[in-house]
C-alpha cells in the first residue's frame, strides 16, 4: 500500500492509507470507500475524478471528520501534518475544521445560513478560530471578500446569501474557507452548480489562492476538463477505489486504465473534427451493494479477461499507478488501434 510520492523526503501534508468507509444498512454492508491511499504535498492541487457512487465525496467527508452516521465504519489512516485524524475527538476535529482544514461544497447554500448576513457568518468563523476582536474580524472579512474578487465588498458584507448570485455565493464560501489560512482546502464539486463562465472565474480563483495563500487543495469533480485545467495530480476513482493515479500531464497523455480511456473518449470535443459517434462506456456504474468480485470495472470493460476475476493491485511506476492487469505491451497495442465502437448494451 505504499503510494506514489513516498519518495518525498519531507512529511506530506496529508497521507491517506488504506481508507475504508462502509455503511451498515438493512440490506447488508455497503463499502463506499474501499482502500484508498494517496499523499498530498504542500501547495499541491489534487483532482479526484469519478462518477456518482465512486466514493469520491465520501472520502472527502471522512477526511473532514464529517461522517457521524452511527452505522458508518471508518478504517485505515488519515494523517494530516503527521497527526492521525481517524478517531480524533469531536472537539479537536472541530478545531481543525474551518481552521487548518476548510471545505467548499457544491451548493454554497449548504455552507451558508440564510438568516444571517454573509459578514456575520465570516466574522463568526474568524472569532471562533482566531483571537481577533469583532471589529478587526469585520475588517478582515472585507479583505477576504476583496481577495476572492467580490466587487464592492464593504457593501456585500451586509447582504444576505439570497441577495447574491450563485457565483458570488460560492466566492463568499471560499472567502469563509480561507478566513483562517487553511493548509488544506477540500472542494467537493465546487463549480458543478455554476455556469461555465462563472466556473472559469472560480477555477482561476482557486489557482490564485494556492499562489497567494499557499494552501493545498483536493478538488473532487466528475469533469475531466476541470481537472486538466487546474490539478497537478489526478486520481480516478471507480466503485470506491482509486483505479489510476498520476500527475496531470501523464494522466491525459498516456492514460493506462480502460475506465480512464472511456471517460476521456466520452467527452465531446469542443474543437477539431466532430466524431460521427461518441465512443461510450457500456452499462452504468455498479451498485455498491452488488459489486462484482475482482475488478469492479470488468463488467463494463471491453478488454476484460479471466485475469480480472481477482481484485487488481495498484501497480506501475512511482508517479503513475494503475489498478489494472493489462501488461504495458497490451496497453500500447490497444492504444495504437483506434477506439473500438462498442454498440451500447445497457446494463
Amino acid at each position: 500500500m505504499t503510494e506514489a510520492t513516498a519518495t518525498d523526503p519531507a512529511v506530506p501534508l496529508l497521507a491517506v492509507d488504506n481508507l475504508r468507509v462502509s455503511f451498515r444498512t438493512a440490506r447488508g454492508t455497503v463499502r463506499a470507500v474501499d482502500g484508498v491511499s494517496f499523499r498530498l504535498g504542500h501547495r499541491e492541487i489534487l483532482g479526484i475524478v469519478g462518477e456518482s457512487g465512486s466514493g469520491k465525496s465520501v472520502s472527502l467527508m471522512a477526511m473532514m471528520g464529517l461522517i457521524n452516521d452511527p452505522n458508518a465504519v471508518i478504517e485505515g489512516s488519515i494523517k494530516f501534518q503527521g497527526r492521525e485524524l481517524i478517531g480524533l475527538g469531536a472537539r479537536e476535529m472541530r478545531r481543525l475544521r474551518g481552521g487548518r482544514i476548510a471545505m467548499i461544497f457544491q451548493d454554497p447554500m449548504t455552507a451558508l445560513t440564510p438568516v444571517y448576513t454573509v459578514g456575520r457568518q465570516i466574522v463568526e468563523q474568524l472569532r471562533l478560530h482566531t483571537d481577533l476582536s469583532t471589529g478587526a474580524a469585520r475588517n478582515r472579512a472585507v479583505e477576504l471578500l476583496e481577495a476572492v474578487g467580490i466587487p464592492g465588498p464593504k457593501d456585500v458584507i451586509d447582504r444576505y446569501p439570497h441577495q447574491l448570485s450563485g457565483g458570488m455565493r460560492q466566492r463568499v464560501v471560499i472567502a469563509m474557507a480561507l478566513s483562517c489560512n487553511p493548509a488544506l482546502m477540500l472542494a467537493d464539486e465546487p463549480t458543478t452548480a455554476l455556469d461555465v463562465t462563472v466556473q472559469a472565474a472560480i477555477l482561476d480563483l482557486v489557482r490564485k489562492l494556492r499562489k497567494d495563500f499557499g494552501s493545498s487543495v483536493i478538488l473532487v469533480t466528475h469533469n475531466m476538463g476541470v481537472v486538466a485545467e487546474i490539478a497537478d495530480k489526478v486520481a480516478v476513482m471507480y466503485a470506491g477505489r482509486i483505479v489510476e493515479h498520476a500527475d496531470t500531464p501523464t494522466m491525459f497523455r498516456t492514460p493506462w486504465h480502460p475506465y480512464t480511456w472511456g471517460l476521456l473518449d466520452s467527452i465531446p470535443p469542443i474543437s477539431g473534427a466532430r466524431p460521427r459517434r461518441l465512443s461510450s462506456i457500456q452499462g452504468a456504474p455498479p451498485s455498491l451493494q452488488r459489486l462484482p468480485p475482482g475488478c469492479s470495472f470488468a463488467p463494463r470493460c471491453q478488454y476484460r479477461s479471466r485475469r480480472c476475476a481477482v481484485k487488481p493491485p495498484m501497480i506501475g511506476e512511482p508517479d503513475h499507478r494503475v489498478a489494472c492487469v493489462l501488461e504495458p505491451g497490451e496497453r500500447r497495442e490497444i492504444v495504437r488501434k483506434p477506439a473500438q465502437q462498442n454498440d451500447e448494451i445497457p446494463s
Binding site: 472559469a200 482561476d204 475531466m224 476538463g225 465531446p268 459517434r277
Partner: protein, 332 residues
C-alpha cells in the same frame, strides 16, 4: 447526421418574435410588481431533419422558449408556426393532433416519469391517449419502442426507480417517440447523467434521428454536447438570441463576443491545450432579467463595448448565408 441547413430544407417550425413575460414580486403591492421578459422577441426556424441546438447559461430563457414552442407556456407575444399553420392560439382540442407531432424530453427523467406507473404504462400512455390501436397492438408497440431505445421486454413490469439515470432517460425517450413525432424538443436531456452514460444517450439521440427522420430542438448549457449534436446553433443571452449559424462556423469563428467568451470558458480535458488562465473572463454576473441593462444587454460585461452599445440595442442581423448576429461590432 445529414447536412440540412437553414436555407435549403423545408421549415418545420418557426417562431416569430416570440416573447414570454412573467409577473413576479408582490401580488398585493403594485409598486413591488415586476415583469420579467424571460423570452424577448425570439425569431427562429427549424428545418425538417436538422438539429437546432439552443445554448446559453442559466436564466437565459432557453427552457422557457422550449416550453413556449410546445405551448406548455402560453406566449405573451408573437406567433408559433408549425408546418405552415399558426398554432399560437389554437384551443386545446384543436391542438391535440399537433401535440402528437411535437414531443418533449425533459432533464430529470426521475421527475418526469410517474413513480407509481410501471414502464409498460409510462410508455403506453401516449399511445392510449391518441388511440393508437387495440390492447395487443399497443403492447407490441411498447416492446418495440423499448428495444429501439436499448431496453428490453424484461423491463416492462418494473418501476422507474429500479432503473439507473441513463435507463430512465431512455424510457423518457421511448415515450417521446411513441407516436412517431416530427419534432422532439429535448430540454437538457443529458445534463443529469454521469459522463460515461451521457455519451450513450447522445448517441441514442443521433441514431434515432437517422432511423426515424426526426427533427430536434436540443436545449443545453453544455457547449460540447451542443457541438456534437447540432447542425445549427442559436446562442441565447438574457432572453434573446444573440447569434445563430452552422455549428462548425459558430464554434470555430464566433461572431458575438458573448459566444466567444462562452466557448473560451469551457474547460478542455487536455493539459497541453488547457487555457490555464488564458481565457476570456467576463466581468460580473448575468444581470437580473427583471432589470436588464440598456442598449445591448451584454454591454456591461463585454470587453469590446463602445458608446453605441450602451444606448442602441443591436438587432439580429444576417451577416452570411446561414449566419445572424446581434452585435454592433461582430467579430467576423
Amino acid at each position: 447526421m445529414n447536412m440540412l441547413t437553414g436555407a435549403t430544407g423545408r421549415v418545420l417550425l418557426e417562431a416569430r418574435s416570440v416573447s414570454k413575460r412573467f409577473n413576479v414580486g408582490s401580488r398585493i403591492v403594485p409598486a413591488l410588481r415586476k415583469t420579467v421578459h424571460a423570452v424577448d422577441g425570439v425569431s427562429l426556424q427549424v428545418v425538417r431533419g436538422e438539429t437546432l441546438g439552443i445554448v446559453g447559461e442559466s436564466g437565459c430563457g432557453k427552457s422557457t422558449l422550449g416550453r413556449c414552442l410546445v405551448r406548455l407556456h402560453e406566449v405573451s407575444e408573437g406567433e408559433i408556426i408549425f408546418e405552415g399553420r399558426d398554432i399560437t392560439r389554437l384551443s386545446r382540442r384543436a391542438l391535440r393532433p399537433i401535440r402528437r407531432k411535437i414531443q418533449m424530453v425533459f432533464q430529470d427523467p426521475a421527475a418526469s416519469l410517474n413513480p407509481r406507473h410501471r414502464v409498460r404504462d409510462v410508455v403506453a400512455e401516449p399511445l392510449i391517449i391518441h388511440e393508437f390501436g387495440t390492447h395487443s397492438e399497443i403492447d407490441a408497440r411498447v416492446v418495440e419502442l423499448l428495444r429501439v431505445v436499448g431496453l428490453s421486454a424484461d423491463h416492462l413490469e418494473r418501476f422507474p426507480h429500479e432503473f439507473s439515470g441513463g435507463q430512465r432517460q431512455r424510457i423518457g425517450i421511448a415515450r417521446a417517440i411513441a407516436l412517431e413525432p416530427d419534432l422532439v424538443i429535448a430540454d437538457e436531456p443529458v445534463s443529469a447523467l454521469d459522463v460515461s452514460v451521457q455519451a450513450q444517450v447522445v448517441n441514442l439521440f443521433q441514431d434515432l434521428q437517422e432511423r426515424l427522420g426526426l427533427t430536434y430542438i436540443f436545449i443545453a448549457h453544455d457547449l460540447s454536447v451542443i457541438r456534437q449534436v447540432a447542425n445549427r446553433v442559436a446562442v441565447m443571452y438574457l432572453g434573446s438570441v444573440v447569434e445563430t449559424g452552422l455549428t462548425e462556423a459558430v464554434f470555430d469563428h464566433p461572431a458575438h463576443p458573448y459566444t466567444q467568451a462562452l466557448i473560451s470558458a469551457v474547460p478542455v480535458p487536455d493539459p497541453d491545450r488547457a487555457h490555464r488562465g488564458r481565457r476570456i473572463l467576463l466581468k460580473g454576473d448575468v444581470p437580473n432579467p427583471a432589470a436588464p441593462p440598456s442598449g445591448c444587454r451584454f454591454h456591461p460585461r463585454c470587453s469590446y463595448a463602445q458608446a453605441t452599445c450602451r444606448d442602441v440595442r443591436p438587432a439580429l442581423t444576417r451577416i452570411g448565408p446561414h449566419r445572424e448576429v446581434a452585435c454592433h461590432f461582430p467579430l467576423v
